[in-house]
């Protein structure tokens, strides 16, 4: 048990009352709704950690068809040869910087969903990322898929937490939004200023929707801070990569039983139109190190079997390199799912590098099959309700052993 374990005692401290009976009478509806949610998450409850790679990660230099002559001929100066990869089948290999993922693969804890995208892939960063984050290729939906999951529950600033300053689209529902927390935690003022700032978080009938959101962010700050401040007091090692810092923060919250079912973290810089090789090698190496380190961190807690990590990007990249030794926007790419309860292995199949669809890789797997698995088998939620009646899912999560 770590000293910052969050437990019932903290719950009472948060509500600031000496006895539960006297307290209940003084709670407003809002307080009661919030306080009720600040119970620790029971061990055995699954947790989803979503890693978004912004910019369009090059799938072919991540899960590498390193023996395919078409791979080598299309990328004369930016292909990885056998000495620069970690073979994981007779045709595919992980980028050699991804030793952490290699170990997860060997341990059968890494699922690689090949050729993932959606029908008629969009080559715009922003349109395609919007499609992934809303979970809707039709483009009519503006709410995020995790936001819609939140919409089904009473307001609870703990249920989904992103590690950043601004809210990503995937956490914005129609009614509810996820909370954002910086890696350094949340501080609140002391004394009279604390009381007065807290008052600014009350709702008012005069508020427009956005002013109400502004007030809500203040009340969320207070609700989150009392629980999270002691847990996040030490902060991540400053030598870690940005993603490792975010995941370290998530790991601390998970270890302390913070009642959060979904975490969102991200890594940027994947838009490698030029001089790709060194940049992308470094980025997927950071990804692999950060995820493996995080799973080791939570692996040392009773929650080792609870955590599932999902890694995706808005698209892969063109098969053929350009003159700047980079690649332009492409279509399908692998999605990674990692964790103790993940049934490791390949799902779908590697798209052909020669039978292209409009010059790009074919789509083998629809990303909604992956999302449906995450919703049903990690978040205990009926996927069709969140994903506009999407009917199918992958079976890549094994039931809890207990």
């Amino acid at each position: 048990m770590s000293p910052c374990d969050f437990n019932r005692r903290q719950f009472l401290k948060y509500t600031g009352a000496a006895g539960a009976a006297t307290m209940a009478a003084s709670l407003t509806m809002d307080d009661a709704a919030q306080a009720a949610t600040v119970a620790p998450l029971p061990v055995g409850t699954p947790i989803l950690v979503i890693v978004t790679l912004y910019g369009g990660n090059d799938g072919l230099n991540t899960v590498v068809p390193y023996l395919d002559p078409a791979y080598l001929s299309n990328r004369p100066d930016m292909s990885l040869d056998a000495s620069e990869v970690i073979p994981i089948s007779d045709s595919l290999a992980l980028n050699g910087t991804m030793t952490g993922f290699g170990s997860l693969w060997t341990a059968n804890k890494l699922a690689i969903v090949l050729g993932t995208s959606y029908p008629n892939p969009n080559l715009s960063h922003f349109s395609s990322m919007a499609i992934w984050q809303t979970g809707s290729p039709a483009g009519e939906v503006t709410s995020g898929w995790i936001g819609r999951y939140l919409d089904a529950y009473p307001r609870d600033p703990f249920r989904a937490i992103g590690i950043d300053s601004t809210l990503p689209a995937l956490l914005a529902g129609n009614e509810r939004v996820g909370s954002m927390v910086p890696v350094w935690g949340l501080s609140i003022p002391y004394g009279s200023l604390k009381t007065q700032l807290q008052q600014l978080g009350n709702t008012s009938k005069q508020d427009s929707a956005l002013v109400a959101d502004g007030a809500e962010s203040i009340s969320d700050l207070f609700a989150l801070s009392s629980t999270l401040t002691p847990i996040l007091a030490s902060g991540p090692p400053s030598s870690d990569s940005a993603l490792a810092q975010q995941l370290f923060t998530v790991g601390n919250m998970i270890a302390a039983n913070v009642p959060t079912r979904v975490y969102s973290v991200s890594l940027s810089g994947f838009d490698t139109h030029a001089d790709e090789l060194s940049q992308q090698n470094a980025l997927v190496g950071q990804l692999s190190d950060a995820v493996a380190g995080f799973l080791t961190q939570v692996g040392a807690t009773p929650r080792a079997d609870d955590v599932v990590v999902m890694v995706y990007s808005e698209f892969g990249r063109r098969v053929e390199a350009n003159a700047g030794d980079g690649t332009d926007h492409g279509t399908s790419a692998p999605v990674f799912i990692a964790g103790n309860r993940v049934a490791g292995g390949f799902y779908g199949e590697q798209p052909s590098l020669t039978n292209l669809v409009q010059g790009d890789l074919a789509v083998v797997t629809d990303f909604r099959d992956v999302y449906a698995s995450m919703l049903e088998d990690v978040l205990d939620t009926e996927a069709p309700k969140i994903l506009d009646n999407w009917p199918t899912k992958l079976n890549l999560i094994t039931p809890a052993s207990s």
């Binding site: 912004y54 910019g55 080559l123 715009s124 960063h125 922003f126 349109s127 950043d164 300053s165 601004t166 809210l167 990503p168 914005a172 939004v177 909370s179 954002m180 927390v181 910086p182 949340l186 501080s187 609140i188 003022p189 009279s192 200023l193 009381t195 007065q196 700032l197 008052q199 600014l200 009350n202 709702t203 008012s204 005069q206 508020d207 427009s208 929707a209 956005l210 002013v211 109400a212 959101d213 502004g214 007030a215 809500e216 962010s217 203040i218 969320d220 700050l221 989150l224 801070s225 940027s268 838009d271 139109h273 030029a274 350009n322 003159a323 700047g324 980079g326 332009d328 409009q358 010059g359």
Partner: protein, 430 residues
């Protein structure tokens, strides 16, 4: 008694088309009536506020030296400039008596979103900033011509790597998707062909200049949006900007950032932009009846919040704290000038209204209140201080919730100011 809708409209005019009122300005403008106030806010005049403000570009640092010690010093200077350049611009935003042109330049910076994180050289960003300011209220065709020949933009979108024998699509795609037409108004083939039209431009990053290398330029005709000819960047920009989709797209982009991210503009708005006259378009937007309707609220982006607070408190950003500290605090809120997260620009509205941003906003507000001039509060009796805060900051109306909280702080004007700057009605432009 002024009508509540006048207070609301003026609050929107001073915050969205200006960068927040200087002390006393909101009440003066209110007394003059909305039509005169609007003309004053949208006016372009020689600006006495800018006297003494450093608007000079940083010197060209030249090519990096080969000597290791000199090379280290060179890159240290590049880094230092990348931290101070955001404040260099914000000093100007804060000082201006007629901030409309800075506000428009700020909009265009988010539109032609280019980041120093890749460009590295502050001078190249300043050159782009001057270009955007020159055309901020001019003709979009001229602006677009200048931008396709802008050093920072070309480098940011790999135009440097875009050569005839192997085109790089980055600039061609984002030019049509994000800068001129909007997604869906071109095909993948148009992207490829446009990339060919943009080939051959080389940059001198430290100087912020561009040169044309005809040997790397596609000399054969290419086909873009149904027109086949030999294009260069200027003729290609002219052709794309002449498309009717451009008028609709740019009109919507301005509406989105000045009026509403959720309610569409009237269909007629694109018509006033037929001649690509930005001034006509923005003046039309500023006169739309939506300006008086409550549902058109918008959250202030962190830079807009910070600059408006500096203007109210008479604080010069570069004198508030070390440049690196200001960069860090504002970046922790998610925004610092010249460093947008991607070519898509910054997020908007509820994305800014997070618990994560508040501790950093409080920290900045604390520094501002300590350094700033609180006379608008200290010069009035306690019983009038809460209303004086609204008038000073250009807030249309405090809610009862905020009024109650502020009333608890009337014995301490610093604390009242700190709370007012963090009130939902100030963080969001109701």
């Amino acid at each position: 008694m002024t009508a509540a809708s006048d207070r609301l409209e003026l609050s929107r005019l001073v915050h969205r088309f200006g960068l927040g009122p200087k002390p006393g300005e909101y009440l003066q403008l209110l007394a003059s009536g909305i039509p005169l106030a609007r003309s004053r806010i949208l006016a372009r005049r020689s600006d006495a506020g800018l006297v003494g403000v450093d608007t000079q570009l940083y010197p060209d640092l030249g090519e990096q030296p080969s000597d290791p010690t000199a090379n280290t010093a060179y890159w240290t200077e590049v880094y230092n400039q990348s931290q101070t350049v955001g404040t260099w611009w914000m000093d100007r935003m804060v000082a201006a008596d007629y901030p409309f042109i800075e506000r428009m330049t700020w909009f265009w910076h988010g539109h032609w979103s280019t980041s120093i994180s890749k460009v590295q050289f502050a001078r190249a960003m300043q050159v782009q900033n001057d270009t955007l300011r020159t055309h901020a209220l001019g003709n979009f065709k001229d602006m677009s011509r200048a931008m396709v020949q802008d050093c920072a933009l070309i480098y940011w979108l790999d135009g440097e790597e875009n050569v005839a024998y192997s085109p790089n699509e980055n600039l061609g795609r984002e030019f049509m998707e994000l800068f001129t037409l909007g997604v869906g108004n071109y095909t993948q083939n148009d992207v490829h062909q446009a990339a060919l039209g943009f080939t051959g431009y080389q940059v001198d990053l430290n100087a912020g200049t561009v040169s044309f290398d005809a040997s790397q330029h596609e000399s054969k005709p290419v086909s873009v949006l149904g027109k086949r000819q030999v294009f260069d960047a200027v003729s290609l920009s002219d052709w794309i900007v002449s498309r009717p989709e451009n008028a609709k797209f740019i009109a919507r982009r301005l509406w989105f950032r000045f009026i509403s991210t959720t309610i569409e503009p009237p269909a007629s708005l694109a018509k006033v932009f037929e001649n690509r006259d930005i001034s006509v378009l923005i003046n039309t937007i500023a006169r739309n009846p939506a300006m008086r309707r409550p549902q058109y609220s918008q959250a202030k982006a962190p830079v807009e919040w910070f600059v408006s607070a500096c203007r109210a408190l008479r604080v010069t950003p570069s004198k508030l704290m070390a440049a690196g500290d200001l960069d860090w605090l504002m970046s922790s809120m998610g925004q610092f000038p010249f460093n947008p997260p991607s070519v898509g620009g910054w997020p908007y509205d509820e994305a800014w209204l997070t618990a994560a941003a508040i501790p950093y906003r409080m920290q900045l507000a604390t520094a501002l209140v300590k350094a700033g001039n609180l006379e608008p509060l200290t010069s009035v009796p306690k019983s009038k201080m809460v209303q004086a805060a609204a008038d000073w900051l250009g807030v249309a109306q405090w809610s009862l919730r905020t009024e109650r909280a502020l009333n608890l702080a009337v014995s301490d004007p610093s604390q009242l100011a700190l709370l007012a700057l963090n009130a939902p009605e100030y963080v969001v432009n109701a």
